[in-house]
């Protein structure tokens, strides 16, 4: 057994054996394996996997398509891609802040919906001028998300309720409440969705003409970039960041060091919810302008893959959210161009997640091999 594995061991050790490189080599390995698995499935279906993957890039505006409609070009697709990327970045930030505190926020989708819906009815339907409306949407989004997050943190601290269960329950509760209000008060009879919000409050500028192209420019992407910097600073340089990480690594040690665990957890969940809220407004009052009742955005779940893949580091998620968004955004074009079902995108994301979850084991195994040598 050992002899047979000698060569593979050597290859693996030389690529991901190095301690420093492990942080990004293991995710890269997970992605490669997942893409290969996806390619095998696509080939098995009788389609060309390389073409299909190229379609993903084309759909995301990273490679030119064969033909474009009037006013459309690669830049239009790329702007649309950025529109999808913005909520993903926020959602991933939300997941990693919670993860650092040892909490698993899988209620990002629900928090997004709560924030998006509140911002929609309070500001989206109002007649406020854009200069007032846009900042208000951002603030309301953050506050609403933070409130839901704080509730989850409080439940965990006060009643010892597993945050996974409580966030999922809240997901359903929010989903049905919002659906009830939309269907009763705000429904658009034609689209069966909520009425579209006014352009003033929307965080995406639509149909901006630049040169000979029309595109949708997401203002939130700047905010997301700021969010990444703030999060990195918070976790690396501030006391709160240190406390969050301490609680996440060992509750007992944190307690012993005099850190108030409950307070830290609630704060971490609040921040996490706040970012989820920002994801919500950039999604529902930006990328889209209406809410479909009884449907949760897949972004919240994809963000978990993004966070795990990005080693739950604010810099890492820039790369991983880019990748996951290419897969999910490009899948529509892939299905029309190559005839592969678009659902394969989330299946690939799922496989990526699966391999990322094995990361700790790979690291452990590689370290063992190194000791043996």
């Amino acid at each position: 057994m050992k002899k047979k594995n000698g060569l593979i061991q050597k290859i693996i050790l030389s690529t991901i054996g190095h301690e420093k490189r492990q942080t990004y080599m293991i995710p890269v390995f997970s992605i490669l394996i997942s893409l290969i698995v996806g390619a095998v499935v696509i080939a098995f279906l009788g389609k060309n996997p390389f073409l299909a993957y190229y379609n993903l890039l084309q759909g995301s505006g990273l490679a030119p398509k064969a033909s474009y409609a009037g006013y459309k070009g690669i830049i239009t697709d790329f702007a649309s891609f950025l529109n999808a990327l913005t909520p993903m970045l926020f959602a991933a930030l939300s997941v990693i802040i919670a993860l650092k505190a040892g909490l698993f926020n899988i209620g990002v989708s629900g928090q997004m919906l709560a924030a998006g819906f509140t911002a929609t009815i309070l500001i989206g339907y109002s007649v406020l001028p854009a200069a007032v409306a846009k900042p208000l949407v951002v603030v309301i989004g953050f506050v609403m998300g933070a409130l839901v997050g704080a509730l989850v943190g409080y439940f965990k601290h006060k009643f010892n309720i597993n945050e996974v269960v409580s966030t999922i329950m809240l997901n359903y509760i929010i989903q049905y409440i919002v659906s009830f209000f939309i269907n009763t008060f705000y429904v658009d009879p034609v689209s069966r969705q909520s009425k579209t919000v006014g352009a003033a409050g929307r965080l995406t500028l639509t149909d901006v003409v630049i040169g000979s192209y029309k595109m949708d420019i997401p203002l939130g992407i700047l905010l997301a970039a700021a969010g990444i910097v703030v999060t990195a600073f918070l976790l690396k340089k501030t006391t709160l960041g240190f406390e969050i990480k301490a609680v996440g690594s060992s509750v007992r040690a944190a307690e012993y060091a005099g850190i108030r665990v409950g307070r830290t957890r609630v704060l971490a969940m609040m921040l996490s919810g706040g970012f989820a809220g920002l994801a919500g407004v950039t999604y529902y009052v930006g990328y889209f302008a209406s809410i479909q009742p009884r449907v949760l955005a897949g972004t919240g779940y994809d963000a978990i893959a993004v966070a795990l893949l990005g080693n739950s580091s604010p810099v890492g998620i820039v790369f991983s959210s880019f990748l996951i968004t290419v897969i999910s955004k490009g899948s529509t074009y892939m299905s029309s161009a190559s005839g592969v079902q678009p659902e394969i995108a989330s299946a690939i994301t799922g496989v990526v997640l699966l391999f990322s979850a094995c990361g700790a084991f790979v690291k452990y195994k590689v370290d063992r091999w190194k000791e043996e040598r």
């Binding site: 329950m169 359903y172 509760i173 009830f180 779940y301 079902q341 659902e343 989330s346 084991f361």
Partner: protein, 319 residues
């Protein structure tokens, strides 16, 4: 009143069997948040099998239904091996593993359903249509007022579930293996010292959990939705988890929790109908079980005693 009992039971019992699976898994020390994904994957396997053999049986033959149950059982068990592999062999974080399995199951079954429909059955559809299983009424007993409703319009799966639930109860509390399993969740080192392999016991527990979850999933597919589609992921698995926490990781109290969920749900629907409210109010009824879950967790989480080694990775060398 009778409708409330009939519908409540048909919702509570599949939930109960999934919760029993969860109890097995968690009593052995493995956190199981994967029930949602396991029930979906199990239901997918069962539904796929039922749809593919449906042509060779008469329209109202119950055979595909029973075979679907068997395959859902096996499918859930198969998928749970991933959880076992990640948690026992790979020593991964059990919470993360559970969530990963849920997401993977959701994505995979959605993709496969659409792909199989398109390439094998030649239809662009995202569901397998199953129909509702036949119902049966026990002749004499069902005439008893109120109590009789329990024996009226039963889905056949309810009887199967009661049988399996009894068996599961017996194994967990009355056999040597059940004792080992419960000990694994409280003090795995003692179990190891007694010469029993902790990993093996846990593997069996996880597989049992997967199988029972799959069974619960196919029951939902055959009763509430009458098809298999992504609608199967409506949080039943999480309700089952809430039920078992509420039931303090014991089988009989968990049954009570499941019944409460079932009756709250059917009573809510009945209320909307009786009061003649518009259909949008159904959304408010749909949230009842979830709100109830949260409330119950608030009141009972603190008093409850989870298995002591729950969620901890078993490390032989640790002290």
């Amino acid at each position: 009143m009778n409708t409330i009992i009939i519908d409540g039971l048909s919702f509570a019992l599949p939930l109960f069997i999934m919760a029993i699976g969860g109890i097995y898994c968690e009593r052995s020390g493995i956190t199981n948040l994967a029930i949602e994904g396991l029930q979906g994957f199990g239901a997918f396997c069962g539904a796929l099998f039922a749809v593919s053999i449906a042509g060779s049986f008469a329209g109202n033959s119950p055979v595909p239904f029973y075979l679907a149950m068997v395959f859902a059982f096996l499918g859930g068990m198969l998928f749970s091996l991933i959880h076992a592999l990640l948690c026992i062999r790979f020593k991964a974080n059990q919470v993360i593993s559970g969530v990963v399995i849920n997401i993977l199951a959701m994505a995979l079954t959605e993709f496969l359903t659409k792909q199989i429909n398109a390439s094998i059955f030649g239809a662009a559809s995202n569901k397998f249509v199953l129909g509702v299983s036949a119902r049966l009424t026990v002749p004499v007993i069902s005439k008893i007022p109120l109590l009789g409703a329990v024996f009226t319009n039963l889905y056949p799966f309810e009887l199967v579930i009661v049988l399996i639930a009894f068996l599961a109860w017996f194994v967990l509390y009355k056999t040597r293996f059940g004792l080992h399993l419960r000990a694994c969740g409280d003090n795995p080192h003692a179990v190891d010292a007694a010469g029993i392999r902790v990993g093996r016991v846990r593997l069996i527990a996880v597989m049992a959990s997967g199988a029972l979850s799959g069974l619960g999933g196919i029951c939902f597919a055959y009763s509430i939705s009458a098809n298999f589609s992504s609608n199967i992921y409506s949080g039943y698995g999480y309700l089952a988890i809430a039920a078992l926490i509420f039931g303090n990781w014991k089988i009989m109290p968990t049954l009570g929790a499941c019944l409460l969920f079932g009756f709250a749900r059917s009573a809510g629907y009945e209320l909307v109908k009786v009061l003649g409210m518009p259909s949008t109010y159904q959304d408010l009824v749909m949230l009842l079980p979830y709100v109830l879950t949260l409330l119950m967790l608030i009141f009972f989480s603190k008093k409850n005693h989870a298995p002591r080694a729950l969620g901890e990775i078993y490390d032989k060398g640790a002290r």
